[in-house]
Point group: none
Chain length 392, copies 2
């Protein structure tokens, strides 16, 4: 690979990604949307200025690891414990309903597929993409409204965290089916083995790193050890347990989330992330999308995908909310608060693309879902909170 | 390239580099020494755990760019103006002496060759390899010592930049004896053109970025714009002006060094640098070295090559430093600071190999010079700086 090419590509990617990210934010959409659009424009669809290559996809891979590690680091374990059953029920239902609806949608478009067939898993993968909530936009809205620590706010937050864990579990199980030799019981055993190992090794490592952190707080070695752990767990998860590497990174983040310096590590990861690795990751999604391949079928599918994606979360979470004793407007708040999708949906899609479980054309649908949900959630949530809930 | 391989390699590199870096610091040597040794141990010479590949060399390349950009950002422009003349004299002498000594060394081993003979140019080529200083390791050491913007530090940095330009001129002259397409007046014109362009565009860009910085201080866009500029200038310098890319990164840093937020940009670059890019760059030097290929026939030449390479720079730069009014320990600091060779020596060797002006066996000598100078420079420099210079 030409080294000059790397310099050129990177210069173009980071500056154009930032410009489109800022435009996107100006238009009240998340910056990631702009970064993906930047990739679409630079890539094969329009300008053909940058081609995806080994270096870019390597950097993008580190980008995902950093993002998932950071998500794990931000896990609030005490809050997770406190909210208990309600959030778990809501999260489970909020994963299950979109999974089923998404699978059904794919089959409605591309024909019935018998269980265990290749097409069946492709259908299930479309459902899997719909499972993971991205709570960052909801968090921002709830903060603005000062409602983040009330009962509904806490429930949404905890449910979104549990939802992430369950979503990753679903992805892990679904991904294992790409291997025709894989047996379901094996997959489940390996997954359980990984989490037990991660738990045991996690406690041990946590104590060691806590001791180092206590002795040398705020030193370079702390985020470096953290990053190395994230990379190592990602590698081990994928290599020896057949689990998606991002699961390893996420678990590494959870392990270190109770560290005194967890916010310090997170800040350092963030600098690496927003400067080079994050933009390259999101732009590379655009680079891999060739808009010229989009036909009317995929357009129609995308629109249905967005509708199903939004409604299935509202139904899944709302229904569970009702069963947990929430009433009236609170049910809608929970459903709408949970319906946003973000970078995790993209990460899952990209994993599917690499594993041959998803066609590149479905990226359009995923991107559309992120854009629409990111724009609708704040608007609807604000409406739900602004009117007096005297019917309650 | 296997993505899992990337995760594994990166996890190993950053943790082992940190461990050896800390051991190195404990032994009163700079961390870079430990990082290079980590590379030697991980690489083909000993453990064979990590192989250099496209991804690693790409990340290493960004690592050099970040280092040189950072060095440029820390440039004290009034100081550079003050040291400009001295640095030029030091650079010229530091190119000329190694060129002559290297040529003489080859003839001492392989017999006298009359000017214009094939063997004469082969001898001159060995001298040419010795001309280019690689300042990145010195930069790292001076940064660790906090001495990068004092008078000696600025002189070394400026001299190294000028040295690069002169070294490239020498290479072009020597190469032009084989390649009729290369004309020396063209090379000089292109070099002048680059610096004029960098100056004009630099002033323009500086004003634009200053305006952005004033409106949005301490925002992500400031370091991102800076990094993009560094990458772009590196690319343009190498691609269109035949100048080493690191010179472009350094010039980009100088352009932005007067910005209010220059220290802010530098801090953000530093996080990227120490976490991933820096360690990968220094480890990759060790990875590229296979100590097993060194056989007895070339061993004696290599040892002499290293000694001549180191001493000729110290003599050349030190003598010029003395003539410029530096005294005592400062002369040695300049000589030792300039004696490191790096990727430029490798690039020159590769070009000579391709042009049939250098035998492949001399690669061992070049790599040995890079490793020895990379390890000795930080140790000696630190010694020179650590003791009080009360004799001055």
């Amino acid at each position: 690979m030409d080294k000059l090419q790397i310099l050129r590509d990177l210069a173009i990617i980071i500056i154009i990604a930032k410009v489109f990210g800022l435009i996107s934010r100006r238009l009240k959409a998340p910056q990631v949307v702009g970064e993906i659009v930047a990739g679409l424009i630079l890539g094969p669809s329009i300008l053909k200025m940058v081609n995806s290559n080994d270096f870019i996809s390597g950097v993008a891979e580190i980008g995902v690891i950093l993002l998932m590690f950071s998500a794990g680091l931000e896990t609030n374990i005490p809050q997770l414990r406190k909210t208990g059953m309600k959030a778990t029920v809501i999260a489970c239902s909020g994963v299950f309903v979109p999974l089923v609806f998404g699978t059904a949608l794919y089959m409605a478009f591309y024909g019935w597929a018998p269980p265990s067939s290749d097409d069946f898993f492709k259908a299930v993968f479309i459902g899997t993409i719909l499972t993971a909530t991205s709570v960052s936009i909801t968090v921002q809205v709830l903060k603005e409204l000062g409602k983040i620590s009330d009962e509904v706010g806490t429930t949404i937050l905890s449910a979104a965290i549990i939802d992430d864990v369950i979503g990753i579990l679903v992805l892990t199980v679904v991904m294992s089916f790409r291997d025709p030799n894989s047996v379901i019981s094996d997959v489940i055993l390996r997954t359980i083995a990984f989490f037990i190992l991660a738990f045991v090794v996690g406690i041990l490592l946590y104590k060691i790193i806590k001791a180092i952190d206590k002795k040398h707080p705020h030193t370079q070695r702390i985020p470096i050890i953290g990053l190395a752990l994230a990379l190592a767990l990602s590698y081990l998860a994928d290599k020896y347990f057949g689990i998606a590497d991002i699961t390893g990174a996420y678990v590494a983040g959870i392990i270190l989330s109770s560290l005194d310096d967890s916010a310090y590590i997170d800040r350092k990861m963030d600098v690496n992330s927003y400067m080079i690795f994050g933009p390259v990751f999101f732009v590379s999604i655009g680079l891999q999308t060739d808009l010229r391949t989009i036909d009317t079928t995929i357009m129609l599918f995308s629109v249905c995908f967005v509708i199903v994606g939004l409604l299935s979360k509202i139904i899944g979470c709302g229904l569970a909310g009702f069963l947990c004793g929430y009433r009236n407007r609170d049910i809608l708040k929970i459903g709408v608060g949970m319906m946003t999708r973000g970078e995790v949906a993209l990460i899952v899609s990209k994993k599917g693309l690499e594993a041959g479980m998803m066609d590149g054309k479905f990226f359009t649908a995923v991107i559309l879902l992120i854009v629409v949900s990111s724009i609708l959630t704040p608007i609807i949530l604000k409406m739900l909170y602004s009117e007096p809930t005297n019917t309650n």
